[in-house]
C-alpha cells in the first residue's frame, strides 16, 4: 500500500516539472508550425484557388469576361477595400459604394458570388498572387485560348455527341445531358437539375465567356464534379459550337420535352393499366351486381 503510493508519487514528481517548464514552448512551436503550414499552403494554393473559383469570370491580362480583367487590379483601388470586397462583395455593393456600383453596372448587374470563409490573410494572398501574375508578360490566367476559327457543322455535330454523352468526355466528367437540357436534342430532353442551356451562349457573353466557364465551372454543383475531371479544349470548342448554333437558331427554353415527359408518363401508366387488365382478364369481377342487373334488363 505504502510502496504503491510512493511509486505513484514518484511518477508524478518526474513528469510534472517537465510539462510545467515546456508547455508554453510546445504551444508556441505548434502555433508557428501551424501558421507556417497555413500561410505556406495558401501561398501555393492561391493560384489553384483562383483557377478553381475565379477564372470562369475573370482573366489576368486576357480581357473582360463577366467580371473585369484583373491585370494590375491592385493599383485601381486601395488594398483594404479589395480585402473587404473579396470577403463580401454584396455587402459593399449594398453599402452604396460608387466604385462597386460601377463594377456591377459593367458586369450587367451580375453580382460577384460570395466566397465562403475567406479570411483577410487569404484575401491578401490572393491579391499578392494577382499582383505577381500581372507583372508577368503573359499570365497563366490570361484566359482560355480558344481558337477563333469559324465553327463548322462538324463542330456542332461533335458538340451534340459530347452533350448527349454519346462521346464520353476525355477528362472523365459526366455528360452535360445528365443535368442539363437543351432545345431540339432529344424527344424527352435532358436533366432538369441544372439550367436550360438553349441560350447559355448569350447569357455567358459569347465564345470567350462560355469557354472560360467550361474550363473551370464555378457553380457549387459543377465545381466539385469537374475539379478533377476538366473538360478538354477541343471538347470545349465543340460544345461552344453547339451552344452558339442553338443561340443562333434563336430558340426559347426547352418546354416541349417537359410536356413530352409528362405525356409519356401518362401514356405509360395507361398502357401499364391496360396490360395489367389483360393479364388478369379472367379475374372475378363481382357476381351479385351483374346477376341482379342482368335480370333487371331481362324483365324490363
Amino acid at each position: 500500500m505504502k510502496s504503491s503510493y510512493g511509486l505513484r508519487n514518484r511518477g508524478t514528481a518526474e513528469t510534472k516539472p517537465f510539462l510545467c517548464s515546456r508547455v508554453p514552448l510546445v504551444i508556441a512551436a505548434l502555433a508557428v508550425l501551424l501558421f507556417c503550414a497555413n500561410a505556406n499552403s495558401w501561398g501555393q494554393d492561391a493560384a489553384a484557388f483562383f483557377k478553381q473559383n475565379c477564372t470562369s469570370c475573370h482573366t489576368i491580362g486576357g480581357g473582360r469576361l463577366t467580371g473585369p480583367d484583373l491585370k494590375d487590379v491592385t493599383t485601381r483601388k486601395d488594398r483594404a477595400w479589395f480585402v473587404q470586397f473579396l470577403q463580401s462583395p454584396k455587402a459593399i455593393i449594398d453599402s452604396g459604394d460608387p466604385y462597386a456600383a460601377k463594377l456591377q453596372q459593367e458586369a450587367r448587374g451580375v453580382v460577384m458570388p460570395n466566397i465562403a470563409n475567406l479570411s483577410p490573410q487569404q484575401a491578401q494572398a490572393l491579391l499578392d498572387m494577382i499582383a505577381a501574375e500581372s507583372k508577368l508578360p503573359r499570365s497563366q490566367f490570361a484566359g482560355m485560348q480558344i481558337s477563333d476559327r469559324p465553327l463548322t457543322a462538324q463542330d456542332v455535330a461533335k458538340g451534340k455527341l459530347v452533350f448527349l454523352g454519346e462521346q464520353r468526355l476525355s477528362g472523365g466528367g459526366p455528360a452535360c445531358m445528365s443535368c442539363h437540357t437543351m432545345k431540339g436534342l432529344t424527344l424527352l430532353g435532358g436533366g432538369r437539375l441544372g439550367p436550360d442551356l438553349t441560350r447559355v451562349y448569350e447569357r455567358l457573353l459569347g465564345r470567350k465567356g462560355l469557354a472560360a466557364w467550361l474550363s473551370s465551372p464555378a457553380s457549387p454543383t459543377m465545381s466539385p464534379v469537374f475539379k478533377d475531371h476538366a473538360i478538354q479544349p477541343d471538347e470545349i470548342l465543340s460544345l461552344v459550337a453547339l451552344f452558339e448554333d442553338s443561340a443562333k437558331k434563336g430558340g426559347q427554353d426547352d418546354t416541349t420535352s417537359l410536356l413530352n415527359f409528362f405525356l409519356l408518363g401518362v401514356g405509360g401508366m395507361v398502357l401499364g393499366l391496360i396490360s395489367l387488365d389483360a393479364l388478369w382478364k379472367t379475374r372475378l369481377r363481382g357476381v351479385r351486381r351483374s346477376m341482379v342487373h342482368k335480370d333487371d334488363r331481362g324483365e324490363g
Binding site: 388478369w280 363481382g286 346477376m291 335480370d295 324483365e299
Partner: protein, 496 residues
C-alpha cells in the same frame, strides 16, 4: 391405417325453421369487431337461393375447391407458380359487393333532426366508409325466397333440373323452399389450408378443427379464394383472415359451440368421428359417383378393436374413443346413412353433414280449385316439391340414389311411428316400407328418438379435449416447475 379424431357435425335440415338464432349467437360472440362486420361464420340460407356470398356454389367463377387434373388433385384457384405470380393480387377474390357492404343506421337523426312536417328517419350508414348508402344486398337478402325471380332462379344447383322441373319449382302452390345453415365444414382435405402461402392455416391434430394462426397470417387471402364454401373471410381492419373456430374455447370447457347451443329447432348434432388419414388422398381422387362411399369408408368404426388399437397408437385418449362410440354423428352418417356432405364434388371432404329435408305436402289443383288436403299425406319421394335431382346436386355429389335412400328411410320412420301412435297405417304396411328403406324397427326407433326426443346430451357428445396432452406436443408443461412465477408469454418491455 392412421387413426385420427375429428369433431364432426350433423345439421338436420328437416328440423330447421330458419330463425337465424345461430347466426346471431355467433355474431355476438365472434364477429362484432371492427373489420368483421360483413363476416357470418354461421349463416342460414334459403334454398333455392344464391346464398352468401352470392352464388358461392358457382366454382366456374369463384374457383374454390379441388379438381382432378391428369389423375392428380389440384387446387382450382392456384398452383405454385400462379400463387407466386398473383401473390399481391389474388384474381379470384369475391368482391365486397358479393358479400354485402355492412351497414348500421343513423339513429341520432331520430333525436336530433330539426322539427319538420315529417317524421325523421334513420338512414342507413355504411360501417366501412361511414357514408350514407343505398342498401342493395345483405347476408340473407333472399331469405324466404325474397326476390326469387332474381335470386332463387339463379341458384347454381338448378342446373341439375330439366326446364319443366325448374318451372314447376316456382309454380303457384308448388313453390317450395328449405333452409340451409352453414358454418365452416372443418374439412378433412381443406383447400384453404393447402392454399395458404404463409402456412398460417392448420387442422388441429387432436380434434380436426381448422384454424388460422393470427400471428402467421399475412393476409394473402389465398384461403378466401380456395375455400369452395367461402367460409374464410378477410378482416379489412387487422389485415388478417378469419374463420369459424367451432368455438374451440367452448368445446375445451365441455360446452357446445354457440350456434349449436342456441339452435331453436335443435337441428344440430356434434360428436367425434374417427377417420383414416392414410387414405384421404386415395379417396379424394375417386370419380364423382364413388365419393360419398369413399368418404364413408374413411370414417372408422369406433367399436372395431383394430381401430381402437390404432387410435391408442396415435395418442388418442381412450375417453375420446369412448366419446366416438356415443357420437350421434357416427349414427347419422355411417350407420343410418341419413346425413350427407354438402358438395362433395369439391373434394375437400366436409365433416359437416346434412340430413336432407322432407318436402311439404303437395296440393292438388282441380278446375281452378286448389285442394290443400292431400289424400297421400306421405307422398312418394319422386313427387316431392323439391326434386331429388336438386338435393342430389346440393348434398349427394350428383348421386340421386344416396339422397333417395336418406329420404326414403326418413319417410319409413314416419310411417312406422304413424302405425305405432295413430294407427291409421297398419304395422304390416309400415314394416314393408321399413324393409324397403333398409331399416329395422330398432333402427327406426333410434332414428325417431335422436330426431324428435333428443336431449342436450344426446345431441352434443363433446369429447374431453385433453388440452394437457395437446399442449405437451408443443411445449414442456414442466418447463417452469421449481422456478419462481409463471414466466412471461412474451418478454416484458423494459428500459427507454
Amino acid at each position: 391405417m392412421n387413426v385420427r379424431s375429428q369433431v364432426s357435425m350433423v345439421f338436420h335440415l328437416d328440423k330447421c325453421i330458419g330463425c337465424h338464432t345461430c347466426s346471431i349467437a355467433c355474431k355476438n360472440i365472434w364477429t362484432d369487431r371492427k373489420g368483421t362486420e360483413y363476416m357470418w361464420w354461421n349463416n342460414v340460407e334459403t334454398k333455392p337461393g344464391t346464398g352468401f356470398p352470392t352464388r358461392w356454389e358457382d366454382q366456374e367463377r369463384y374457383k374454390g375447391g379441388w379438381e382432378k387434373k391428369n389423375g392428380d388433385l389440384e387446387l382450382k384457384s392456384q398452383n405454385k407458380s400462379s400463387a407466386l405470380f398473383n401473390i399481391f393480387h389474388n384474381p379470384n377474390q369475391p368482391t365486397l359487393d358479393d358479400y354485402y357492404e355492412p351497414w348500421t343506421y343513423d339513429y341520432q337523426n331520430l333525436f336530433n333532426a330539426p322539427e319538420g312536417a315529417d317524421q325523421p328517419t334513420a338512414k342507413p350508414i355504411s360501417m366501412i366508409t361511414g357514408e350514407y348508402i343505398n342498401v342493395e344486398a345483405g347476408p340473407n337478402w333472399d331469405d324466404d325466397l325474397g326476390g326469387s325471380p332474381v335470386y332463387a332462379q339463379n341458384d347454381p344447383n338448378l342446373e341439375s333440373l330439366t326446364p319443366e322441373q325448374r318451372e314447376q319449382l316456382f309454380a303457384t302452390e308448388r313453390l317450395v323452399f328449405f333452409y340451409f345453415p352453414r358454418i365452416c365444414n372443418h374439412c378433412l382435405n381443406p383447400a384453404c389450408v393447402a392454399a395458404c402461402p404463409s402456412g398460417a392455416l392448420y387442422k388441429r391434430g387432436e380434434d380436426g378443427i381448422v384454424l388460422i394462426d393470427q400471428k402467421r397470417c399475412r393476409g394473402w387471402r389465398a384461403c378466401v379464394a380456395a375455400c369452395p364454401y367461402k367460409k374464410t373471410y378477410f378482416n379489412w381492419s387487422t389485415g388478417k383472415s378469419e374463420k369459424c373456430i367451432l368455438c374451440y374455447p367452448r368445446l375445451e370447457t365441455g360446452q357446445a359451440p354457440a350456434c349449436f347451443h342456441s339452435c331453436v329447432g335443435r337441428i344440430r348434432y356434434l360428436g367425434v368421428l374417427l377417420y383414416d388419414a392414410a387414405r384421404i388422398e386415395e379417396v379424394a381422387k375417386l370419380p364423382d359417383d364413388q365419393l360419398i362411399e369413399g368418404q364413408r369408408s374413411l370414417i372408422l368404426d369406433p367399436f372395431d378393436p383394430e381401430v381402437i388399437a390404432g387410435a391408442r397408437a396415435n395418442g388418442i385418449h381412450d375417453s375420446v374413443v369412448e366419446s366416438a362410440q356415443k357420437s350421434p354423428v357416427y349414427q347419422f352418417v355411417k350407420v343410418w346413412k341419413l346425413a350427407l356432405p354438402p358438395h362433395l364434388e369439391y373434394r375437400t371432404f366436409p365433416m359437416l353433414f346434412y340430413v336432407p329435408p322432407m318436402s311439404p305436402v303437395m296440393a292438388s289443383k282441380e278446375g281452378g280449385v286448389i285442394d290443400h288436403v292431400s289424400g297421400d299425406l306421405f307422398h312418394d319421394i319422386e313427387q316431392s316439391r323439391v326434386p331429388v335431382a336438386y338435393l342430389a346436386k346440393l348434398l349427394g355429389a350428383g348421386q340421386e340414389n344416396k339422397v333417395r335412400y336418406a329420404l326414403r328411410k326418413q319417410k319409413a320412420v314416419r310411417w312406422y311411428r304413424r302405425a305405432l301412435t295413430v294407427g291409421d297405417v297398419t304395422m304390416e304396411v309400415s314394416s314393408r316400407m321399413l324393409a324397403e328403406a333398409d331399416c329395422s324397427s330398432e333402427e327406426a326407433e333410434a332414428i325417431y328418438r335422436l330426431t324428435s326426443l333428443c336431449t342436450f346430451e344426446d345431441r352434443f357428445v363433446i369429447p374431453p379435449m385433453h388440452r394437457e396432452e395437446a399442449i405437451q406436443m408443443m411445449e414442456d408443461p414442466l418447463e417452469h416447475k421449481a422456478s419462481a412465477g409463471f414466466g412471461f408469454v412474451s418478454g416484458p418491455q423494459r428500459g427507454m
